[in-house]
Symmetry: C2
Subunit: 159 residues, 2 copies
DNA sequence: CACAAACTGTTAGCATACAAACTAATTTGC
DNA sequence: GCAAATTAGTTTGTATGCTAACAGTTTGTG
């Protein structure tokens, strides 16, 4: 397989500034932050779906945020959890279909749909809340406590 | 926060609401590693598509790995860049459609499709290689050099 | 007031991503 | 030697996630 795993950013910085004529020799896909990010995300999604088979991470985010705020319009909810208007529609539709949230038109602004968690939605959120914390714990398990805090701090800077 | 009103809501039918405020107080979506990971990935994808509009990150990964290895079977390629068999098929189809890679059946094992980058594929890879390194650089820009190395090291541990 | 600008939700189209079920070809194990 | 297990690739279905275009609604400005 591939043996080059630990030649981190040395090469990419050189090549970023220099003129790379032979990409193949100095470009290592495995060292690129985007590639590793995707792999880590992949692992996280796998942990999530194992510990919380009932909801996707996105659905859980939407439900959690709605439980936290009490109510929100559809696009507002999307903005709060960084999901665009086109995507949040599908997420909301599926949560509504399962009876976890409700929607009603807002009389003072006919464009808006006011979303609220249903009793079932709140109950489910309570049920899986502990598991959600376990997901984070398991995702970060390869790191020490000190490293975890450091990692989260750095990760937040890259948002 | 609304613990003050606990006595009031407690009697109501929606005890779930009272529980929800408990959960809300110790669960912060924004602090969960999975949520931030998704946001950082989002930012990275945005940088990538701005600097490299020609290919998606996944397509670039496939092309880059194929240029590096010279050739590989379809599933083999998928395994090397952490893409499952169902997904890699679409990626390969689109790269073939654009003439960036070629495929031929392997006589010694009729199940296998041997993929190779075409001359155009190699040329494109060379062309956008520098931009690919810039993507990593811009993604990590909020961090100092020291922090970048540290971050990549921690990120790799979480793969 | 009129009208352009901005906003809300919707739709269509494209590209990952993953699970599950399936065919065909090859390898293993007895 | 041959049935069983494994592997390669395909297909279907579901869910994100993004862009672009669109219709209503509301707002801001002249």
């Amino acid at each position: 397989m591939n043996k080059v795993f630990h030649a981190i950013t040395e090469k990419q910085q050189d090549a970023a500034t220099a003129n790379a004529s032979d990409m193949t020799s100095d470009y290592q896909l495995e060292d690129q932050v985007g590639f590793i990010l995707r792999c880590v995300n992949q692992r996280h999604l796998s942990i999530f779906s194992r510990l919380i088979p009932d909801l996707t991470p996105t659905q859980f985010s939407a439900l959690a945020k709605l439980c936290e705020t009490g109510q929100a319009s559809q696009n507002e909810l999307g903005r709060m959890i960084a999901i665009d208007a086109a995507t949040i529609k599908g997420v909301v539709d599926r949560l509504k279909l399962r009876g976890l949230i409700s929607s009603e038109s807002q009389p003072s602004d006919l464009r808006r749909l006011i979303l609220k968690p249903t009793a079932e939605g709140r109950q489910l959120f309570e049920q899986i809340g502990a598991a959600a914390l376990k997901v984070s714990e398991e995702t970060l398990r390869p790191l020490s406590d000190k490293e975890r805090h450091l990692f989260i701090r750095l990760l937040m800077k890259l948002r």
